[in-house]
């Protein structure tokens, strides 16, 4: 007798048997979850919260710098604001956001049922809020939060109070989280690809994350030991970096930037991956030069390990080192150029439409290229000597990290929101958010190039009168930029709660695997591997 059992029957049967339900509900679902989609969502919300918090710190910085003179904050508080803005944006907002994307997208894109180590995944996320609490809690201990700059250079760092130790522990915790996350991602990508999904058939986003995870694994022990040595110098009487005790303060900078430069790529490579997904979709054309894109990413990652000292051209290194690091740094322009050219060629003779994700992607390509050019200018040692530690550098890394990383994240969110929520976002609000962000971003950060060229140092709470005009423009831009992110929050919430039904594939040009699944994808997707042709 072969009768079909309707799902309803099965469901009733389950109740009749009265098995304990192991699937937690309510908030416990989020605490206990080992599901890659839940954890991806947690990562993204956490990073968004941190983005708003660190953004609020930036607003306070710009309020103080609106005019010369001290208006709102004493210098010690100002230094805390700039330091925590940087640390939280990097470790709390940008990195977790990309890990959130990795959690959601990598299993979907390679046809895997989940991440390789689901429970490890849960731990790597829940370490982050603890680290975040330590960082933010530092504002409330005597002496205030860490104020030595996000780079934590000794000997200044050694002078700090208890919040400095809290920062070290926070960084340790975030480092452990990152390492567990990268091991998970590497294993997932390499071991859980669906049959037929060879390495050279993987979507670019997966490729970029594979390389990013390699970078993270190589760089993280270096950061962990750098901050550990700071801790030992502070409390255990060692003299790694203490000149009076026979140590070398410059060695810290070498160690820190040996981590710090790969860190920059950790924050930008996944963004490249998102761009390489969005641009072909809305050009309705496959990605141009897939192979050379993969090779360029590998070359970029390798270069990341031999250019660290370009952050320290003014410390007085031998002329041969200056030349070596300058030439190596200039080489970065080649693979980066290849990427930009390939994106342009992808758009060429396409059938381009301008939905919000595409607007973000195009803006990122243009603005990131400006950041790349200012990077090239900064690679030139003599010019760097003039511009090191000025607002030019601030402009440069915001063009790379805000318009490069953060705006890619925004574009990626708009791109995949329909898949994640099952609803279309409000296209009109999305476009308003885009234009406000893009314009305000440039008003905020473009004049900083001029300020830096004219000689305004960074990390100062007050400035000479000749810098006043541009600073006022910058502050006004920053306030608009900050406020427009609230619109982003509103648009995302609105999309989660309501909106037109998205269907399996709302973007007609989208070709990757996740678009074969329903929107939102079932709680567990692809337990059987799909076959890739």
């Amino acid at each position: 007798m072969a009768t079909t059992i309707p799902i309803q029957d099965v469901h009733n049967e389950h109740h009749a048997d009265n098995h304990p339900d192991h699937h937690p509900t309510g908030w416990m679902r989020w605490v206990m979850s080992t599901n890659h989609k839940d954890i991806g969502t947690l990562y993204l919300w956490f990073s968004f919260g941190m983005f708003l918090f660190a953004g609020a710190l930036a607003m306070l910085i710009r309020a103080e710098l609106f005019q010369p003179g001290l208006q709102f904050f004493q210098p010690n508080v100002f230094n805390q604001l700039t330091t925590m803005h940087g640390l939280i944006m990097i470790f709390g907002a940008i990195m977790p956001a990309f890990v959130g994307f990795a959690n959601w997208q990598i299993p979907l894109m390679i046809g895997a049922p989940d991440m390789a180590f689901p429970r490890l995944n849960n731990w790597s996320f829940w370490l982050l809020p603890m680290a975040g609490l330590l960082l933010i809690g530092a504002f409330f201990v005597p002496g205030g939060a860490m104020a030595g700059g996000w780079t934590m250079y000794p000997p200044l760092f050694i002078q700090g109070g208890p919040s400095y130790d809290m920062t070290i522990f926070a960084i340790h915790i975030m480092g452990i989280s990152s390492i567990m996350g990268s091991i998970n991602i590497i294993t997932t990508i390499l071991n859980m690809r669906a049959p037929g999904m060879t390495l050279m058939k993987m979507p670019m986003f997966v490729w970029t994350w594979l390389i990013t995870a390699f970078l993270l694994i190589s760089a993280m022990p270096v950061l962990a030991s750098a901050v550990t040595m700071l801790l030992m110098d502070r409390h255990f009487g060692t003299s790694f970096f203490n000149a009076a005790g026979g140590g070398d303060p410059v060695m810290y900078q070498h160690i820190f930037w040996f981590f710090g430069h790969p860190e920059v790529y950790i924050m930008i490579l996944p963004a490249f991956g998102i761009l390489s997904t969005i641009i072909p979709t809305f050009s309705r054309k496959p990605l141009f030069g897939y192979r050379s894109m993969v090779y360029a990413t590998v070359v970029l990652a390798s270069l990341a390990f031999i250019v660290w000292a370009h952050h320290m051209f003014t410390v007085g290194m031998p002329i041969a080192s200056q030349l070596f690091f300058m030439y190596a740094t200039m080489l970065i322009a080649v693979p980066t150029g290849v990427k930009v050219f390939n994106w342009t060629a992808t758009m060429w003779k396409g059938s381009i439409s301008f939905e919000t994700p595409m607007l973000f992607a195009i803006a990122v390509v243009c603005l990131f290229t400006i950041g790349g050019f200012s990077g090239l200018v900064l690679a030139i040692v003599p010019v760097d000597i003039q511009l090191q530690d000025t607002y030019y550098v601030v402009a440069h890394f915001h063009y790379v990290l805000f318009s490069g990383a953060a705006m890619s994240i925004m574009g990626g969110i708009y791109y995949w929101l329909p898949k994640w929520t099952g609803h279309m976002y409000d296209e009109r609000l999305g476009k308003i958010h885009f234009w406000l962000t893009a314009i305000a971003f440039n008003v905020t950060f473009f004049p900083m190039h001029f300020l830096g060229l004219a000689g305004m140092p960074r990390r100062i709470p007050d400035y000479a009168l000749q810098f006043a005009n541009f600073n006022m423009i910058v502050s006004l831009g920053a306030f608009v930029l900050g406020a427009s992110q609230l619109l982003f929050l509103y648009t995302v919430i609105k999309c989660i709660r309501s909106g037109a039904v998205a269907g399996n594939r709302p973007w007609e040009g989208a070709e990757t695997l996740e678009w074969t699944l329903p929107s939102p994808p079932p709680y567990h997707s692809f337990e059987t591997a799909p076959v890739i042709k």
């Binding site: 007798m1 072969a2 009768t3 079909t4 059992i5 799902i7 099965v10 469901h11 049967e13 389950h14 048997d17 098995h19 699937h23 895997a112 049922p113 390789a116 180590f117 490890l120 390492i179 567990m180 091991i183 998970n184 590497i186 294993t187 390499l190 071991n191 859980m192 690809r193 669906a194 049959p195 999904m197 390699f214 694994i217 190589s218 993280m220 022990p221 270096v222 962990a224 030991s225 750098a226 550990t228 040595m229 030992m232 790694f240 070398d248 060695m251 070498h254 160690i255 040996f258 390990f305 079932p522 709680y523 567990h524 692809f526 337990e527 059987t528 591997a529």
Partner: protein
């Protein structure tokens, strides 16, 4: 992944479920060695420069990586097999560490399929003589539902 041999109507019937592993053992070694080489070169470089603290951190990290990859390798050969031979039902759970076999009487074995309102079937098990044996940890929700349906029609004959 699931392999089905035979059909619901035949007397001999076998279903095998196994995880999908796209990385070979040699590939795993390659991955570990390449990461270990880079990490250790860096760590030794810093060690020579006086920053020995990098070494223990690199070691701890490589330990974690080694453990994770080893875990994956050990479980690459795991499978579950359900064989039906007339009225005998044999469930085998194979892992590297142990081989577990359960024999049930097909006539009395009961199929338990645990599905949620959204259609996701997360558990398939056979119950008999007060014991419950899970089957289908390597299957997808859809496969579990299908296998469950097949088994329901084949087993628990006393019900019909």
């Amino acid at each position: 992944m699931v392999d089905v041999v035979g059909s619901a109507s035949s007397l001999h019937y076998a279903i095998t479920g196994r995880p999908n592993c796209s990385l070979s053992a040699a590939g795993t070694c390659c991955v570990f060695l390449s990461i270990a080489t880079i990490t250790l070169i860096v760590a030794f470089g810093f060690f020579l420069a006086g920053a020995w603290v990098v070494l223990p951190f690199a070691g701890a990290e490589l330990g974690a990586l080694f453990w994770s990859l080893r875990y994956v390798c050990l479980h690459a050969g795991d499978y579950e097999r359900l064989t039906i031979d007339h009225d005998k039902v044999l469930v085998e759970h194979h892992t590297t560490k142990q081989d577990v076999r359960f024999e049930l009487n097909g006539y009395w074995a009961r199929v338990i399929l645990d599905c949620q309102p959204n259609g996701y079937c997360r558990r398939l098990a056979l119950r008999s003589h007060g014991k419950e044996i899970e089957f289908g940890r390597f299957l997808s929700s859809e496969e579990r539902l299908n296998v469950g349906r097949l088994l329901k029609s084949r087993l628990g004959g006393y019900l019909s």
